[in-house]
Amino acid sequence: MLEAILLTVITAATPLVIAALGELVTERSGVLNLGVEGMMIMGAVSAFAATQITGSPYIGVLAGIAAGGAFSLLFGFLTLTLVANQVATGLALTILGLGLSGQLGESFVGQPGIKLQPIVVPLLSDIPFMGRLLFQQDLIFYLSIALVVGINWFLFKSRTGLKMRAIGDNHASAHALGINVIRTRYLAVMFGGACAGLAGAQLSLVYTPQWVENMTAGRGWIALALVVFASWRPLRLLAGGYLFGAVSIGQLHAQAFGIGIPSQVLSALPYVATIVVLIIISHNRRTTLINTPASLGKPFVPER
């Protein structure tokens, strides 16, 4: 029983962790992309479509990543090249993504999907309890853990990561030092998009292997809140992602048990939890200021 619940928590947490990690990198470079929800849903629909057409969910995963990355380029072009307002452009990305995915996915509604099968790691999967939980998972779960560890190393131990954080904290100084601000930001935005696309692919290939319109159901926004919750640190983000996964699964199990609370109240729990967490994290102005990348959301036009 416990094992079954924990397995569903992992499945629910993985897309949150991946999408939030991508956004974390984007924000560390000083760009606020509110279009996570839109990139995620584009990833979900593309992954599902590619899987249905080719019959291979692995091609679906690639299609999800590619769609998220490509969609984020639109955001990059507007905010980085044309210096459009980042908040508004991110919203535009979400609105466009939700509309476009509904349009693209229309013929796939109701089709049974193909689930991404678990990859069993030999030996390790024989460990009682833990083996079943952690080593009989699908590719995307393994990727999520590898990405968290990898990005944590990249940000705090690598030279390029240091440069990227410098850009996020003060783009003018970074530019003066000869770091290419715009190019780095493009890459960070695309990484964020690719991650959101991968998270979307997880939703339509693992979490519920089918296409439903608006199936992201606000997860992109919860991912944005997770980045704040994690104070822009990958390892805290992993913990936060699993906390949110647990809340959303907990309410599903509570609904299944039918404990006299209206289902709508339980469905609202993840959103209430997000607000509560934001309050707890943000109420200390000073620590928030220290943690937030200082040029987050500010436009940059290089002086030539």
Binding site: A84, V87, A88, A92, I95, G102, L278, I279
Partner: protein, 363 residues
């Protein structure tokens, strides 16, 4: 080849007028390409999407019905965005306004009095304003990001409405349909003309737009909004309080969204049901930007976006295209509006010079 931007000393007047039109033209062009890719004749499709709805009286009424909530919400949002407060939860404030405004007709169905309608409208505004007050309180008191909190509150409001319509407010004589009893005639927003369904909401919308335009243009409060939005520091030197501005802008936009909500339920639907909005609160964000955050511009852009809703319905019937196309159009339009706005503040040059060995510059 690369694109280089040069800041203009001041915004170009020509482009601040032209950029929304340019954005519309680009949207139509790419929309035509999209129809062509769907295997339709683009000219026919665009015609039935954007022209046909304008040719009949009843559909002009529908246009006004759909434009009213968009304009009401968007003029409120324009105050928020101009003062740099990012309320994106208007959809939730709309929903709560519809709920609080419907308390009287749903719970006291026997009450026939001319007083009921004004009370409903006031209660709707109060409900919307209070709901927008939550992110305002959290922002001023706990420093919480209003973008995320206001959006999360949308989901909560929608679930609350869903619960009410399926649970305690369900019509006992309604054969288990998830909707409340129908409002008494006194609680229905009256129609403005005999020729069709358009009701008072469009009048509220235009009045609100003109009032806020007047405030932004001629009153100190409007100046305060602009100054604090452009530079909080400069605003502080002028003695303006950013904290009070958070409250002011959120309450104004929440009240207008709430008014839109109760007007929609009372004027167009006539009862409470689980879903009352085809995303007006989000589309209004596009309306606000297409109107360049100017209340009068928003009146015009509200009709344009209302047309995308109507066109979607029309195109579904006449040429068999899914009405989801309208959301694609809305998204495209916002993108083009934002990109074209660059032309107002920057001169855009496309540089094609070749980099030669010795003088290579870092791009």
């Amino acid at each position: 080849m690369r694109i280089e931007l040069q800041k203009r000393p001041e915004g170009s007047r020509l482009f601040s007028f032209l950029s929304p039109l340019l954005a519309l033209a680009l949207t139509l062009f790419f929309g035509g390409i999209m129809f062509w890719m769907l295997g339709k004749n683009p000219v026919d499709a665009l015609y039935s999407f954007f022209i046909e709805p304008l040719l009949e009286v009843w559909s002009l009424h529908e246009l006004a019905i759909k434009a009213a909530p968009l304009i009401l919400i968007a003029v409120g949002l324009s105050v928020c965005y101009r003062s740099n407060n990012w309320n994106i939860g208007a959809e939730g404030q709309f929903t709560i306004g519809a709920i609080t405004g419907s308390i009287l007709p749903v719970l006291y169905p026997e009450w026939h009095s001319p007083m009921i309608l004004p009370l409903m409208l006031i209660m709707g505004m109060v409900g919307g304003a209070l709901y927008a007050g939550i992110p305002a309180l959290l922002k001023t008191r706990f420093n919480t990001n209003e973008i995320l909190t206001s959006l999360m509150l949308v989901y909560i409001a929608q679930l609350y409405l869903d619960w009410l319509a399926r649970g305690p407010w369900r019509d006992p004589q309604g054969y288990n349909f998830p909707q409340s009893r129908s409002f008494v005639p006194e609680a229905v927003l009256p129609e403005i003309l005999d020729s069709g369904r358009a009701h008072l909401a469009i009048v509220f919308a235009v009045v609100a737009a003109v009032a806020l335009w007047f405030m932004m243009r001629f009153m100190l409060k409007g100046f305060e909004v602009t100054v604090l939005g452009q530079s909080e520091r400069a605003g502080r030197f002028a003695g303006f309080s950013a904290r009070r501005m958070v409250w002011f802008s959120m309450l104004v936009s929440g009240a207008l969204a709430g008014l839109a909500g109760i007007s929609e339920v009372s004027g167009s639907i006539g009862h409470v049901q689980p879903t009352i909005s085809p995303g007006y609160g989000f589309t209004a964000i596009i309306v606000a930007f297409l109107g360049r955050l100017n209340p009068l511009g928003i009146v015009a852009s509200g009709f344009v976006l209302a047309l995308t809703y109507l066109g979607g319905e029309a195109a579904q019937l006449s040429i068999g295209i899914s009405d989801k196309v309208s959301r694609v159009f809305q998204g495209l339009l916002l993108f083009f509006v934002l990109s074209c706005d660059t032309l107002i503040h920057y001169r855009v040059r496309i540089v094609t010079q070749k980099l030669t060995g010795g003088t290579a510059r870092h791009a």
